[in-house]
Symmetry: C2
Subunit: 456 residues, 2 copies
């Protein structure tokens, strides 16, 4: 028969079993962390009507989208989890309680140019809090606190959540009478880290943007306010009273900083940073980016902010919100690439492999049932193979324990348990064998999925 | 601004928050159960090259598939989890250990005619065991044992896993010299439960199939062998010696029945049933279907079987396997529709809602951190609203506990905890409040997600 070459599409992550278990462990920790903060899980369809998904329309989105027809329907794959959330909230408004706190961990699709570390199918892990008419700024502080707790639970240490407020930026540009140019300016300033101060200055004073040298200098001086959070806040106080929006933004930023400290987020893990603007016009207040301190070149691994109007394309209701998104697939790729994954943790599909040494499988089945009831992931090796092949299978799976069950063991109501990491083998009564393995596993499963070498 | 009507596509399940939590709880139990048997999780892309996905081609599949172009690529959404598994195994053969045991819980897509209870996007929860060259029949018994354990953990009681073996059927038709017609016959016999014996007899003797009355009678007599498993096996023994394939199938069925008993599956939950053939030509040995005893009209909720050659379209390697698939979305729909979901379990997004009664949020944040560290899902209500509105929010979320934190409580290092189900309110020191809530929750979270009324 002619064969089709099996392949996985470029830009689509497909992991080998051990890596998949590491990925799933990270996703489970994120899920648990989001749940602890009272977010409810949602699972919206991958496919939506194009008209709904592209209600906002335009821009990069439309170029990258996977769009197709089925029958009479014009359909698209979701390209983020925010637009489906907007649809969901508008559609189910009457059945939801506000503030509505939801998380979603799901795949999204963008037909980007394929390149290393860029994915066309990737997981986002999002939290959003949506208010009905109003939403307190308290929520703006809780979001990064959740991200801090989540990354810490994953084992990440050397990261920094950088926080700014668009009202401060907009207010500042209003002071300079540059409101009309503020979008261009912010887009340019956003590139500061990538292209450097000189290039930013050149762009700002170029004919396209057209600032004077003084204006550019003023902006760069402002953006250059750096230091610990109390220094940044006190430096900003010097601008107070010149623009109401600026003052409002400064109040909000101060509250966020105060509450973040209350939430126990250490200063090294969050910074007030006036260079953060987020490219999107969507955000109206607090904005977040998160960088790995030892790998700034990776860019933001978790971004978001405050928006005024989640679902304006679907409803007249004012639904302000604040949210953040972890680019999980890309983060996992980077962590693997940079050697951050904790390979000491058990990534075998089973904790125990039982090798029956008798023809009758009943004793092995019974032992396996005991182990599984105790929560131990157990596989019975049921193939007729030579001993050496069985052991080579155990090695290839990297199972932590192998149990040999021969006539002697069965007669004695015992099991011969081999710890595959130490090579140590003991014969124990069944009940003891179970607890022996349980305690070994609990030790083995300690530790987080990420080993951040930046910290001892 | 002109609004787009928000809507979710027909045939796509999108749940309200409480229901989503119930669905996720079921999926988590299935995942845990599959893991306990040493299956490794996989997560393959939703999109594959059409050439790869449709390597087998033809039939219903091709009509129902979501297929589209992106750039130069001819792409399709997966319509099951088996073809992607075949691709995965062929592609990663060198890096896998065989038998390769994997589970996958994921969405698949079929553009079926939309009707109530039919979905175009739905979850399948699959387990498969793939051998390299050979795979012992022991595995054929383990698969339904896993399904028994899984459904039982979900709370389902009144279900029956029905097992047959295609070799018995094929061998039987060979005895009657009807091998060439066996596909037609099996497809017809498969309809027995739906259309009744008379219609099946008419179809068998119709010109299209063209059996004699005697042949039809012989087949219906054979199919009618019913009773407990030992009766079925002994009745089949009477046919032994007339066809080698039949004898092989009978041996296999006997082994499966014996080991299923060893795995502790009660006879009421599994039956040897000669009417089960599975429509697909794909299956070559053991076949499974699972029915809800009180709702036979729903059809099979979990089906599968033994196949000789998983990946024949991609590789010359012989990769036999055995597997089964739970149609999770449809099962959930049916369970909700028939009132099987256990609505007593907590489906609130949070276990505790803290209502701060002071302006300073610090004490609430600190209490929330305590609760979250203890694993209690906690939300702080951060909005400036009237007390009545706060309580109405708590009611709408259906949170089990509300904590009031006013100046008195803060002064005393205490919390006023209200059990929202009983209305009881107690003031407790913080540490005691945490354990009080923990113990209440552990009681509340007892019980399975399905309440099978068929059993007391």
């Amino acid at each position: 028969m002619a064969k089709v070459q099996p392949r996985t599409l470029s830009g689509f992550m497909e992991l080998l079993p051990g890596r998949q278990i590491q990925f799933d462990r990270m996703a489970a920790i994120i899920r648990e962390s989001f749940s602890l903060y009272g977010f409810t899980p949602l699972d919206t369809p991958l496919i939506e009507a194009s008209e709904v998904l592209l209600a906002k329309g335009g821009g990069e989105t439309e170029k990258q989208i996977y769009r197709f027809s089925k029958g009479d329907s014009d359909l698209s794959l979701r390209f983020d989890l925010t637009v489906p959330l907007a649809k969901y909230v508008a559609l189910n408004y009457a059945n939801l309680a506000f503030p509505f706190r939801r998380f979603q961990i799901g795949k999204v699709y963008r037909g980007e140019r394929a390149q290393r570390g860029r994915f066309r199918e990737f997981y986002q892990a999002d939290i959003d809090i949506i208010g009905d008419g109003k939403l307190d700024v308290f929520n703006d502080a809780e979001i990064p606190a959740i991200i801090y707790r989540t990354f810490t639970a994953l084992g990440l240490r050397r990261f920094q959540i950088r926080v700014n407020n668009r009202k401060i930026l907009n207010g500042f540009y209003a002071m300079l009478n540059l409101t009309q140019k503020s979008s261009d300016i912010m887009r340019t300033v956003d590139k500061l880290e990538k292209i450097g101060e000189k290039s930013v200055r050149d762009l700002l004073t170029s004919p396209e943007i057209g600032l004077s040298d003084e204006e550019a200098a003023e902006i760069l001086r402002f953006i250059d306010i750096k230091g610990d959070n109390s220094f940044v806040l006190s430096s900003l106080e010097q601008y107070r009273g010149r623009n109401p929006m600026f003052d409002e933004g400064l109040d909000e930023l101060g509250l966020v900083a105060k509450n973040l400290a209350g939430f126990g987020v250490p200063e090294e893990n969050f910074a007030l940073d006036l260079t953060i603007a987020r490219g999107l016009d969507y955000y109206t207040g607090t904005v977040y980016e998160t960088t790995m301190l030892d790998h700034p070149e990776i860019g933001s691994i978790c971004s978001g902010g405050r928006f005024d109007n989640l679902a304006e394309y679907y409803t007249d209701r004012q639904l302000p919100g604040v949210g953040i998104s972890i680019g999980l697939t890309r983060l996992f790729f980077v962590l693997e690439d940079q050697g951050y994954l904790n390979d000491q943790l058990n990534t075998a599909p089973a904790d125990v492999l039982i090798l029956p040494m008798t023809e009758d499988m009943a004793p092995s089945i019974s032992l396996a049932t005991n182990l599984r009831t105790a929560g131990v992931r157990t596989q019975i090796y049921g193939e007729q193979k030579k001993f050496k092949q069985k052991m080579s299978y155990a090695d290839k799976l990297a199972v932590p324990y192998v149990i040999f069950l021969g006539e002697d063991e069965i007669k004695d109501g015992a099991a011969a348990v081999k710890n595959m990491r130490t090579g140590e083998q003991v014969k124990l009564p069944i009940a003891e064998a179970v607890t022996y393995i349980q305690s070994g596993l609990s030790e083995l499963n300690q530790g987080a999925p990420i080993l951040d070498k930046g910290v001892q």
